[in-house]
Symmetry: D3
Subunit: 323 residues, 6 copies
């Protein structure tokens, strides 16, 4: 992929033209309030893993609609006092995987809670959390247009609510320091992290090559999946673009970014044709908290890869180890 | 696509090796019995269309789980007495489309009921029927692994139940002759037609290049979609093949075919790499009723196209016009 | 396909820069005059089809060079007086198909004459009309560069002449009202309809995602087929671009549009990389008659599909039913 | 491309199952007799080229239907007495190119006549010979199904007739030794060479990776072009396979091979998915004259390339230089 | 990818037909002897990483030709006594990556030495080790045909020698228990592990979807990269197949397997078209030591992924933790 | 490929923004000086070829690092006095091929020396010259990043040095007129020709669709190979772009062009997505000598093909025959 989006100097100041819906905050306040009528019911079941350096727990908590959401909590075995915690979200199509898949954050000495994404977890890493009740266990995608008929039924309403409650779950653990929570993730995981940072109070936010931002531009400049699922929907349901983008406005990372206060470290690939750089910058430039961004010029959606993983570690230590 | 499956002389006698589950019939009897506890509630709302030769009605009836299913009923405007009726099912990803999309069967002088497929109708022709309740309106696929965790939650349990009730809906119309019902469809529509013919009493069955047959072979000899969704699921959920094919055995066109009594006209494309010919022949060779098959040697999944449409018309007239 | 052509606001006013050749009208007058030296010899042979709502006739008439051209005439069985008639042309590579393929316009209560395209009818729907004499029956394409050595030998000189005579054929039928003729078609069919509207007097013109417009731009901004056949020719015959575009100028929908007086309904797909939107708008903006256009933003060459089919029906009724 | 056709040990003895039509020889005798009613009218116009080692002549002669066919004759400048002559035919889609494109055979000290292929010469190298009269100059392909409605109108009837007359043209040149003629060519050129060797008396035949052999097998085991044009025709014209292969039987290299007496050097690529090795071996194994074959195991349709060019030179010298 | 190689029941007993060259052992004995004339010069430089659970060392040692090879040694921070050690090799095109990329084996409580692959490390994970002297730093591939002119100059002679010395380097570390060494890796890493197990004495061998086995079959049944590089070489260098496979016979995992005594755990993907299952089974069936294999039926070259990572952990604990 | 780069009117004046490194000339002076410490050792071994019009010699000379470089010298058999000589370089991935592959320039009456490219000659035409010492014979690419760690080790330092010495080799032949040397080549061959014209004194320069120009733009606007190898390197070695382009600046055809004094004939394909037209024009517009360019608008990387071959012949005769 060559450079195909706005020139770097234009990206630096690019802003999405549409404001948030006027009842954006009211919609989300009501949504979260409803979710909190269900008891969180966070459970952490210790597992027997082959590792000697970390302890892993099977996590369950109550997400949207009173439905159980799964995850993994990984703690450094050698620990002492309350730990800062990274709450991580997964990329599109993947699930929480196996308990043994997640060593990184705990090996830094921090707690790490990974949330399974409802209904996903069949495309590239397995998951264990259904979306809804009967007939909706983990499946091959797509999810981008599930329930897109209204903001109330849209799939990401459920996912973002789950994610806010995942942060509450982390805080509910006796060994986690609830004042030091980071939300993190790549692609869809980055989009969810932005949503959480806009919906609740966390200290740090690490969205990598975030998805779920500036949908109307994304669907017009690339036809790659998963944004392309929305384009495919509009191709079939002709004349529905205004309705669909009207619904998606309640789920746009650009608007969550404008409400976020956490200190953020973004990353972007300038040749990324899955999450085009202008859509990432639209969120970054709107982001209300302290922020920085790492730019990977010759990378597509893989973004900064292991080099950026190291940037994330350095960023976390800068905030947490010096304390 | 060149010829890639069994040689024609082997196709002619090919049989799928696996028997039906022993409680196959009990499972379906219970499923349909449960569905029938809900009132059918068939409604036919006349529409104002631009046509002068046919009348179209917006259909609604109660399918699986008491949920409303949509469809179109098209009748020849010049009609007299009770008409034979073709109940048609749609190919994967498509919906019932617009009221104005369906002229063929009614122009023959027959009633034509087209059933919308729940949750589908965004891939190539729009639909209007949700699958389940909140958050599951029409969406971009896939459906092949939705609810595949058990036979009770599997997506096609709901679809096949809807389809049986679509036949009941046709029979509930005062201008339809319930003794002369044909079920028909191409690809997924053909697979659903086979299921209905195996589950209830109809006169004729016209499955074209049917999908949803002999899943375990299909997923091993082609990786094209939609069968490929199952392969993708098994690629991620390693070690689950036995479970998954155990569930799918309750939804296999081969087993429905072995129970069907309707007189059937099949079609097959010998270069079809979406629904490989051996899987079509596995259903055809197992089919218990009177049967015939048209073979299109140089065709892929488009099968016999308009030439076979004419074969279907001739077949229907042979059974219905001579009366 | 993402948006790739001019921005929508530029499309609205885009004009092709090249004027028509000065002897454009003379060339076509001479061409048609020569064609009319052959007797039209329109014949309508009734067919026995399975339909009860329409009657179908096998049509033959004399096209370019005195050669016989085939078609189908479909009339509503219940008819009364002279009918308005839609004369339709087919997309690239297709033929008239089977007599049973065409129900739509007659089911509206109008006459429908579908013209076979000489030499085509092997790519996606069969045809029955040869181009020329020996050795030139229906075949797999391409046609874009057949005879491109001069305006006199170019393939579309023959096709457009056939099409003008198809309108004369419709008018020759005793049940057709010659004052109410619409020409219609998609892609190549739309390009032919534009040519006919520019060459003869018809009431209505319905070109969908028209092909054969603004060749020099099309071949430079897309390499997809069929425009790409011209690019492939120029790639091999280096230095011939001026000659080739000089010939094509006599066959450009932009110039026919500038001469048309029929009331028109166009359609365009903004992501159409077969017939790029700027080439469609070049014809639309040049169109001399009353006109309107439907824009399908998220569609490629499929354009408005069934939604636009309904638009066409509404447009026809607005002109013909109110009478 | 991996090995995909019959195993090498099966190729060595593979025979096409169908015999030639009983009137195969009569058909071709009549065809050639009709062609010879037109005067050959061979002309050789000297050209001014930049070369100092060879002389090039623009050739014209009368082919099928009395139509003029073009070519190049290249002679070594230093020559003495009558020369052996290689008559070469071109691969599918190409033309005779420029006069300066052909140095090889003349640089060996032999005469070289290259025949332009009617109607082709726009796909990869330009040509100058029309097929038929009006509207049929050189064009982008395809040609495989042109006139396939009958053996009389089929395109290759004209081409093979042209090719026989090209040999007569070579013999008509005063510096060519008519007893020492080789026919040669790659792909389509090889298929034409086989046809000529089966239709007339020549000394040597050099078909490389020959096309136009065993059509019924080729179209069933590969879908690549150009054989795929036939498959595409049959896909659209359902039910016409018997007719089409009935026509093609009169043009099958397998049957020409069985009639050829020239000493032959074949070549084949075992991974060739354009002209599959079993179709080449079907011709080779049927070949009636003295013969040898060079096998290129890891090559596709490029076959032996420059290595085989050297083999051809060695073969020609073995027959001609020792004299 | 569908199943394309031998049926599972044939795989179970499939053996490669060619024996090892008679001087295979002599060649490798001489190669290793020469390498050992250079001092090993193993150095382990402690690094400052962000991790609290493991310690990482930058490794250098003398590989083939006296050239320095890099790697990472990762040890559990909490350790006590001499540790078993996994020596791991990398897949084709990748390098050792960053020091922070490798947590898995050390988190099990074992030492982990990862060897950089000379010249690679630019395709998907960076490396730091040149191949040779001037002008041969890390680069984009390919490597399959580097030096293939003779067994002495072939690239993998150098790599396999490096790998044997990597084991010696592990044993040179004071905290490693030299009697408990496992060699491991996926794809190319698995091929190297097999080579080391055949060339030196190690306790365990874990080759996943191993590459570099049964080259002559692999290059004939798939054309995917990297085996396809050999096919591409033979396509250009016609007539060199015997020479090339003669050289490769000294580097074939099948022959190393027949000499290995370590207890082995293999894995294979039955739809793997990069390292076809028959080539993996050829090595497995030839393997001389105790052995087991995990089969992933619906997987391509990703094989068992995280599920198999857990199998490897279980296998290592079974041998090392019970001690 | 459609037009994708700058509009033709912008191409005409496009200049690359970066100046040459300040020590560019010093670097190359030192490099060539070092090379010349090795004796040229040019040898011309007569070969027995099948041709009667030309004589071919197997050439060897000392290139970079004292290493032997191969080539072919082809002379017209009928010759007299000292001949002008075309020194030609080969496109990426190819080698010198067979002695019998090269007739063109000698058939014009000129000497022709074709240089083999070290290490290449396996991608599309075979070669015989290793790069470096052990383990680096001809191989499948890539070469773009070989030794890119510094200007001293970069692969093209060796190739360009070889090429300068190839000109010296031509001049060392007793039948060559050293005052009339042209350097020529297509793609990589054109890039090498530009380098030679910038590094040494030659009379004429014929770069066709030249590669190796304006690397930083090329790698950002296309991702095709071979420029894409650099992009792939930077994708993996994140953060190295400045270093890499710093090295490449010493090898950029734009800077060589600015130093060249030979009279030049360039060619460019406006749809060339391998060597984008703006990178060709960057070199052309910087070219210091007399110059002209042929533009092929509808061509990709094949550029002017045989038509441009004729242009080259005409250009050479204009300079050499008139003498």
């Amino acid at each position: 992929m060559a450079l195909f989006d706005l020139a770097p100097e234009l990206l630096a100041t690019y802003r999405a033209p549409q404001p948030a819906p006027t009842d954006f905050d009211a919609f989300w306040a009501a949504t979260l309030e409803e979710a909190r009528t269900h008891d969180l019911n966070a459970t952490f079941t210790p597992l027997d893993t082959p590792y000697v350096t970390v302890d892993v727990y099977d996590v369950s908590f109550t997400g949207w609609g009173g439905q159980p959401i799964r995850g993994w909590l990984t703690l450094p075995r050698a620990r002492d006092g309350r730990l800062p915690c990274v709450v991580e979200f997964v990329g599109y199509g993947g699930g929480r995987g196996l308990a043994t898949d997640h060593l990184g954050y705990a090996s830094l000495g921090y707690a790490h809670l990974l949330m399974d994404t409802r209904g996903q977890g069949s495309g590239w890493r397995q998951g264990d959390t259904p979306d809804d009740a009967a007939g909706s266990g983990p499946q091959v995608p797509g999810f981008m247009t599930r329930g897109i008929q209204s903001r109330d039924t849209y799939y990401y309403r459920r996912v973002f609510t789950d994610a806010v409650r995942a942060v509450e779950t982390a805080r509910a653990h006796p060994e986690v320091d609830g004042t030091r929570i980071a939300v993190a993730g790549g692609s869809q995981g980055g989009g969810i992290a932005l949503a959480v940072a806009g919906l609740t109070d966390v200290q740090l936010c690490l969205p990598d090559v975030p998805f779920l931002c500036h949908y109307d531009r994304a669907t017009r400049i690339v036809d790659s999946f998963p944004y392309g699922e929305i384009g495919q929907f509009l191709k079939t349901h002709r004349g529905r673009a205004e309705d669909v983008f009207g619904v998606l406005a309640y789920f746009d990372g650009v608007h969550f970014a404008a409400r976020a206060q956490a200190t953020a470290l973004f990353s972007v690939g300038l040749m990324d044709d899955t999450c085009p750089p202008s859509t990432v910058y639209a969120a970054y430039n709107a982001y209300a908290g302290a922020k920085d961004i790492r730019v990977y010029e010759f990378n597509r959606h893989e973004g900064g890869g292991d080099a950026h993983a190291l940037e994330r570690m350095t960023f976390l230590h800068a905030h947490w180890r010096t304390r």
